[in-house]
Subunit: 202 residues, 2 copies
């Protein structure tokens, strides 16, 4: 005989736990309204819980922001790793696939980069979340340098930084210029850079 | 006999008027702490006035933000006009001077672009200040297209957007990566783009 599942056990199977719900909800609200544009009370309510529970899981709003940024960073690198795995013997293919992939989210995500936006709002130089953001951007930069090296581009450090600046610029411009701005041309611009650094190959 | 100058008249000669003081102070505080990171009370106090006077000059905090953004835009284009005037017969010299000029403030201004930052914080799509920001970015883009055309670059639209994205990216990266990040290479990256589009000349 199959044991009957109680309501609570069923809810636990279907519904994510409060901590998870809080983070998912906070990321969504922070992204749409900015980390200073939304308070913990609103987040707790939207996550179907309360402020006390939120503070039991996260000691402060900054702790919650830190966890949201960490998850955003993890997702971002999981996507990059997937691209690397999918093009394991073809670094140039990987580079082109990254451009294609980035061009997609640059257009579809009007609010730009979660990490860069948080850096704008968390202006205090020693804010703990800034360190997480800085590290993630450095890691992304290292990833691009390695990719440009593997793809055989000339001056891979400069090629990577040029691509990095185009990418960060497109994320920012999508937001400040709207959809019909220079960010539309991220793909052509990045492909032009690859062609140009391809020719500078030693 | 020289008429005596009263204290008030003297103060009016030396001190900027309240409206001006409020805008200067607000721009500084908004830039350092973000437009949501500082309240009107703090601004009024730092400007040596009070909330009532602030609200007499600006109907709302948004009106004050709008005026600050407008002034930032005006300064930015005054600088660009000055570069144009200084290199009136040498558009390529003007382009190179712009890169040099931009590379300077990219490093020296750790908080990046006032306009782009405000767009991050003022997340509501129909926020009136967003329109001012969008228009200023479009005007800047048009300026770069015209400059690339005059400098005889091939594909001037794409060249301008590539430079625009590098510029916006460097402003954003300076903030999220710190000073030793990809923004350090804005100048080399931009010069590489000019060389590359120079070769694509028809």
């Amino acid at each position: 005989m199959t044991p009957k599942i109680g309501n609570e056990a069923l809810a636990a199977q279907v519904m994510p736990r409060p901590r998870e719900r809080i983070v998912v909800t906070a990321r969504d609200l922070f992204y749409r309204h900015g980390v200073k544009g939304v308070g913990v009370e609103t987040i707790a309510e939207a996550a179907g819980t309360n402020k006390m529970t939120l503070y039991r899981h996260f000691g402060s709003k900054d702790d919650l922001i830190a966890e949201c940024v960490r998850q955003a960073v993890a997702e971002c690198f999981a996507e990059l790793d997937e691209l690397t795995a999918r093009h394991s013997d073809d670094p140039m293919g990987e580079l082109q696939a990254w451009i294609e992939h980035a061009a997609g989210y640059i257009v579809s995500e009007p609010r730009g980069c979660e990490m860069a936006n948080a850096a704008v709002e968390l202006a205090e130089e020693d804010h703990p979340v800034r360190r997480i953001i800085e590290e993630s951007k450095k890691r992304f930069r290292d990833h691009l340098v390695s990719l440009c090296q593997r793809a055989g581009l000339g001056q891979p450090d400069l090629a990577a930084d040029t691509l990095m600046l185009l990418h960060e610029g497109a994320r920012s411009s999508r937001q400040s210029e709207g959809v019909q701005g220079s960010s539309e041309h991220f793909k052509s611009a990045a492909e032009g850079v690859i062609a140009s650094f391809g020719e500078r190959r030693r």
